[in-house]
Symmetry: C2
Subunit: 408 residues, 2 copies
C-alpha cells in the first residue's frame, strides 16, 4: 500500500548539529523493505536523560525498561528499531532488548542501562535477534547522518519526516534543542506508535529535565489525539549532553531555567502538532480551545472528548458547521458543564451562546472557515477559569482505507 504525503505535511526544518549527539542509521531489514530501519544515536559521556511513556498497561518491554532507565538519569546511546514494535512478545522480546543494550554497551564501554531502546511496528512478533545484532553492528560503524535521515529512519508509515528546533539563552550560552518524532501513519497490522526524541547541548540536571519534560508533555503530547487509541510503545525521551558548557540547570531558580523550559515546551508543541498533521487520513488540522471550565484538567478532558468524537471529526471533514455535535461531545465528557451557559465558536464566530443558537447566526463566514486546512473550534463553559488547548485531525475515508482496506 502506497500512501500519499499528508496534505498537512510541513517541510523538514534546518536543524544544526547538537554538540555531543551523533546520528547513524543502518538496514536491519526488520521488514521486507529497502530502507534504513535502525537508528543509532551516540551521546557524549555525562548526558542526562528524562522520559515520558505510554500509560497503556499492556506496554512493550522497551517502555518498561525505559521507565526504569530514566530514573538513573544518565544516557550514552539510543537505538530505535522500525518495522517491529516487539510489544506483547513476553520473555523473547525482553531478550532482544537486552541483547541490543549489551552490544552497544560493550562498544561504548558503558553500562547497559545507559543504552535506551525503542521499537515501533508490528505487534506480537519478537524482534529477531540476528537481524538486530547485524543491524546494530552496521550502525555502530556507519558514517554520521543528518537529522532528516534519522527522522525518516525512525518512521514506519509516516508520510513525511518530522523534526523541530528551538534555542534558549542560559547565562552567556545559547543552547540548541533539536527533536525528531514519528507517529500516526500506520498500515494494518502495524500499530501506530509515537516515538519522539529531543536532544540538547544544554547541561541539565536529570531531575529538572524530567520535571520540565513532564510539564511540557502535559500540554503538548498529552493534548493531541488522532483516534483515541493509545499505543503500547509511546515514548518521548529528552537527552541533554551538557556540551554547551552552561552552568547546569537544576531548578527553576537557576539562570536560564525558564528559558530552557519554554524552549522545551516549544519543541514539544511543534513535534506534537507534526504528529497530528500526519494523522491517518488527515485533511484538516483542528485546534480546540476550551475556556471557562471548572479546572484546567477538566478543560483538557472536555477538549479531548470533542477531539475524539467521531461525529465531530466527520462533521469537520465534511466542512459542516454542526455545532450540535460539539454540544454532544461536551456533555458526554463526564466533566462539570451547564448546558445553559455553554457557548461555541468556529474561528472567532460564536454560533451558540447561553445554551442556544445565537439569534443572528450567519453560517456563511463559518462555512468559509471550515473550507480551510486549519480549523479552530472554541468552547466556553462559563463556569470557571479552567482552560486547555487540544489538537486533532478530521476523520476521513483515508483513515478507513489505511486501517481497514489493507489486510495482513
Amino acid at each position: 500500500m502506497d500512501i500519499a504525503p499528508s496534505p498537512l505535511a510541513q517541510p523538514f526544518p534546518a536543524i544544526p548539529p547538537v554538540a555531543g549527539v551523533t546520528l547513524r542509521i543502518a538496514r536491519a531489514r526488520y521488514k521486507q523493505w529497502d530502507r534504513c530501519d535502525l537508528t543509532y544515536v551516540e551521546l557524549a559521556p555525562g548526558t542526562t536523560v528524562a522520559g515520558v511513556f505510554t500509560r497503556n498497561v499492556c506496554c512493550s518491554t522497551e517502555v518498561e525498561m525505559g521507565r526504569e532507565q530514566v530514573l538513573l538519569g544518565s544516557a550514552r546511546a539510543l537505538v530505535v528499531n522500525a518495522g517491529n514494535s516487539n510489544a506483547f512478545t513476553g520473555f523473547r522480546g525482553r531478550e532482544a532488548v537486552e541483547q541490543i543494550m549489551a552490544q552497544v554497551a560493550q562498544h561504548l564501554e558503558c553500562k547497559p542501562s545507559d543504552v535506551f531502546v525503542s521499537s515501533t511496528g508490528v505487534i506480537g512478533v519478537p524482534l529477531p535477534l540476528d537481524k538486530a545484532e547485524a543491524g546494530v553492528a552496521a550502525a555502530l560503524n556507519a558514517v554520521p547522518c543528518s537529522w532528516e535521515d534519522a527522522a525518516n529512519t525512525i518512521g514506519t508509515t509516516d508520510t513525511f519526516a518530522k523534526g523541530a528546533v528551538a534555542t534558549a539563552v542560559i547565562g552567556d550560552r545559547t543552547v540548541t534543542l533539536a527533536g525528531i518524532i514519528k507517529g500516526s501513519g500506520m498500515i494494518a497490522p502495524d500499530m501506530a506508535t509515537m516515538l519522539g526524541y529531543i536532544f540538547t547541548d544544554a547541561a541539565v540536571d536529570p531531575a529538572f529535565l524530567q520535571s520540565a519534560l513532564s510539564a511540557a508533555s502535559d500540554t503538548s503530547f498529552n493534548c493531541i489525539t488522532v483516534d483515541s487509541d493509545t499505543s503500547t510503545s509511546d515514548t518521548v525521551l529528552a537527552f541533554a549532553t551538557g556540551e554547551a558548557g552552561n552552568m547546569p540547570i537544576a531548578s527553576f531558580d537557576d539562570t536560564g531555567a525558564d528559558a530552557f523550559a519554554a524552549a522545551l515546551f516549544d519543541i514539544c508543541r511543534q513535534l506534537s502538532h507534526l504528529v497530528v498533521r500526519d494523522g491517518e487520513g488527515a485533511q484538516k488540522f483542528i485546534e480546540i480551545e476550551v475556556t471557562g471550565a471548572d479546572s484546567d484538567e477538566s478543560a483538557r478532558r472536555i477538549g479531548l472528548a470533542i477531539a475524539n468524537s467521531p461525529l465531530v471529526k466527520t462533521a469537520i471533514a465534511g466542512e459542516d458547521a454542526n455545532w450540535g455535535r460539539v454540544v454532544m461531545a461536551v456533555g458526554k465528557a463526564g466533566e462539570p458543564a451547564d448546558r445553559d451557559k455553554l457557548a461555541i465558536r468556529f474561528a472567532d464566530k460564536w454560533v451558540a451562546q447561553a445554551g442556544l443558537a445565537v439569534d443572528s447566526y450567519d453560517e456563511a463566514p463559518v462555512a468559509e472557515h471550515l473550507k480551510g486546512q486549519d480549523i479552530s473550534v472554541g468552547v466556553d463553559l462559563g463556569l470557571g477559569d479552567g482552560k486547555a488547548k487540544v489538537w486533532t485531525c478530521d476523520l476521513t475515508h483515508g483513515y478507513i482505507s489505511i486501517n481497514a482496506d489493507y489486510r495482513s
Copy 2:
C-alpha cells in the same frame, strides 16, 4: 441522501397487541418529508412507568422532564417527535414540550405529567409550536396503527424498523412485553438518538419496574456502542398497563417477578442488538466477551474500550485478525490488567495466551470466521471472576459517508 438497508437488518417480528396500549401516527412535517413523523401512544388508566436516560449533561428538555416524570410512576400517553430533537434549544424547547403535554392532557383528562414526550433529529432548532400542535391534533384522531408503523414513525435515518416481543408467566397469567426502538442511523446535521419503548400488559409496581429496567439496561443498552458518542436525547421507557390482571409485582419475592425481569431483559437485549445492527455503515455485528476481570464493571469498561477502538473496528471491517489492536485497547482502558496473563480469542480459537502469540497459531480458521457477519471476540484477563459482554459494529467507509460526505 438515500441509505440502503443495513446488511445486518432483521425482519420485523410478529408482535401481538398489548392490552391497554393503542398506537397512532400522524404527519407533523417536522422536516420536508412525506412520511409520518409523530407517534402517539395512549395508555390505559393505571399504567405504571419507568425510564432510563442519557448521561449526557447537555441533555434535552425531554430528558430532563422525563427524569422527573418517571419518579411519579404513572403514565397515560407517549408522544414521539421525529426529525427534530429539540435539544439545546433553551426555554423555547421547553415551551414546545409543555404545549404537547397540555394538549394531550386536556384530551385524556389526565395530569400533564402523565404525558411523556421524546424528540429525535436535528439539534439546536426549537420544535415548531404550530407543527407540533397540528401533528398532535391529527394523531389524537387517527385510526390505530400497527407496531411496525409505529416503529417506522419513531425512526429518522434508521434503515429498518426495529421491534421485539417477549412473554412471561406470572401466576396464572401470561403477560406480553412488546418493544420498539430507533437509533444509530443518522444524517448530518442530525444527531443519532436511541429511543426505546417497551409496553406490557403486566401489572407492575413502578418502583419494581424501575429497578428491573435499570438492571436490564446495565447489561443491554449500556453495553452497546456504535461510535462512542452519547446522544443528548437517549431514552428508554417501559410502560405497564396492568390489563393482564396478574397480581401486581412489587418485589422480587412476588410470584412471577423473576420471569418478568427475565423477559424484560430479553426484550432489552433484543432491542439493543437491533440498534447495533443498524449502526452507521455497519457490515458486521461484533460480540466482545470479557472474562477473568477484576470485577464485572471492570470487564464492561474493558469491553467498551475494545468496542470503541477505531483500530479494532477497522481491523474487523478489513477482516484482519489483528489481535495486537485488541491488546492495545485492553491496555488503554485504565482498568486492572496484566499483560502477561492476557489471552485473546476470535470465535473459539485462542490466538494469544499468557502475554504472547500461541505457538501453534493457525490463522486460517480465524480468517474464515472474520469473513462472516457475526463476529465473536473473547478476552480473558486471568485476574478474577469479573465478566461482561458488549456489542458493537465495525467501522467502515459507510460511517464516513453518512457522517461526513453529506453537508447541511
